[in-house]
Amino acid sequence: MKPFKFEQATTAVQASQTHVDAAPNARFIAGGTDILGEIKEGILEVNILVSLAGLSGASEIISSDVGLEIGALVTLTRIASDQSIVETYPALAQAAESVATPQIRNVGTLGGNLCQRPRCWYYRSPLFDCLKKGGVTCFASDEGNKYHAILGAENCHIVHPSDVAVALLALDATVVVSNASSDRQMPIGDFFVSPDVNMLAENVLEPGEFVSKVKIPKPSSGTRSVYLKAKERQAYDFALSSVAVSLEVRDETITQAHVALGGVAPVPYSVPQVDSELTGQKIREVDVQAIGQLAVKDAQPLSDNSYKVRLTASMVARAVSRLISE
């Protein structure tokens, strides 16, 4: 690795200020599992890594009447096994559990997982000067794109790699972003940005800003959720396609629905046409196959990834089916 300075911040102010002062050559590090990989790969040059690990107040899971607050430093292992999450937000626990391996989950944090960079093999290789690294070409447009996007992609065809983000989207989470002086928060759907909004980043963080916590509203009784992930091997794989569904069911009727897709778009992807279609339906009458087809109706597959259209439709159908038979 090229040399960098590692600085342990003790306060948000210190962390933020150091980051701003060294911008654009500073990065925050929490667990570090993704960022160290990028540095080793030679696609990221950093002068200073500002560690958030010492920040107080960012490592807690706090349950209240309004919902759950999860500090950005909480590890994926904790999220996967925390009782309140497993019981109340199963999609989130399942998504966290599906990430990588126990070793990665023991160190990887919520914030880090949301902010991880794409896995696109052109992005990750220094031998391709791709759009996302400031180049002029997307090498996935015409070929070599079996893992790439089928939805919401125009010039750059990455898929967002975070499982947790997809579950949080379906759970209507809010992301809290902090800097030296203040916090701001936004629905998680607004935290992520697609390449045509900002080619060089996947989220709205400005220099000096970091994710400090995520808030999830308390679901009403009758709400159930699930996260399904299709992979190429049985374990330790990013999603070929993944689905998070949250349904509120009252009197055998779906009163609220939120479906989110992963592995198929540059951002965790909502499909509001599906949510509207499901809302108001009696669970006995739901045609899950039709719902699945509806989820992918706007799909624009590339040369090698049309299988994702059928795969995603099946995954949506399966996820909805599982929830309505609960």
Binding site: M1, K2, P3, F4, K5, F6, Q8, G32, T33, L36, G37, K40, L49, S51, A53, T77, A100, T101, P102, Q103, I104, N106, V107, A235, Y236
Partner: protein
């Protein structure tokens, strides 16, 4: 004359297998590099340096981590345990004996990593099911694919500990 790139170093105290070590580290050095090149503990292996194979697995505060994917500077003040802390070839522990009896390895390169992951598993779960064993060890790749024997070894170790 070409310039040496500026690098940063720090003094840290690393607790490994119960002993404190005062060492100078370059900020870039991973925990794996420090264990192997500074402390001479070569049990943890560099299989990929990317956290994708688990050959470098050690325990930090009892949890298995890929030491290649942590900076030494991230580990100060925490307890690191490596395979060297478990025993030597003349006195294998129960887990190691079980691996020997069940032939839980072939080339052995993945073995220290598996031993550490399995140690953490059995310390928190004394009677794991086969599914729990698989879930706990899935982050360790064995390219010889001795997976069948490895699972049997961990089962045997759990049984031995129980009796």
């Amino acid at each position: 004359m070409a310039q040496l790139p500026i690098s940063y170093s720090a003094s840290i105290t690393l607790n490994v297998n119960g002993t404190d070590h005062q060492i100078e580290v370059d900020h870039r050095w991973t925990l794996l590099r420090v264990l192997r090149d500074v402390l001479g503990l070569t049990g943890a292996k560099r299989g990929c340096d990317r956290g994708e194979c688990g050959a470098c697995t050690v325990l930090v505060d009892g949890d298995p981590v890929c030491s290649c994917s942590m900076l030494a500077l991230q580990v100060g003040g925490r307890q690191v345990r490596t395979v060297e802390g478990l025993g030597d070839a003349n006195s294998l522990n129960v887990l190691q004996e079980a691996f020997l009896a069940e032939d839980g390895g072939q080339c052995g390169f993945c073995t220290p990593g598996f031993i550490m992951s399995a140690t953490a598993l059995l310390e928190s779960n004394t009677d794991p099911t086969e599914d729990e064993i698989k879930a706990a060890l899935v982050g360790n790749i064995c390219r010889c694919n001795a997976y069948g024997r490895i699972i049997e070894s961990v089962k045997a170790a759990a049984k031995s500990e129980a009796s």
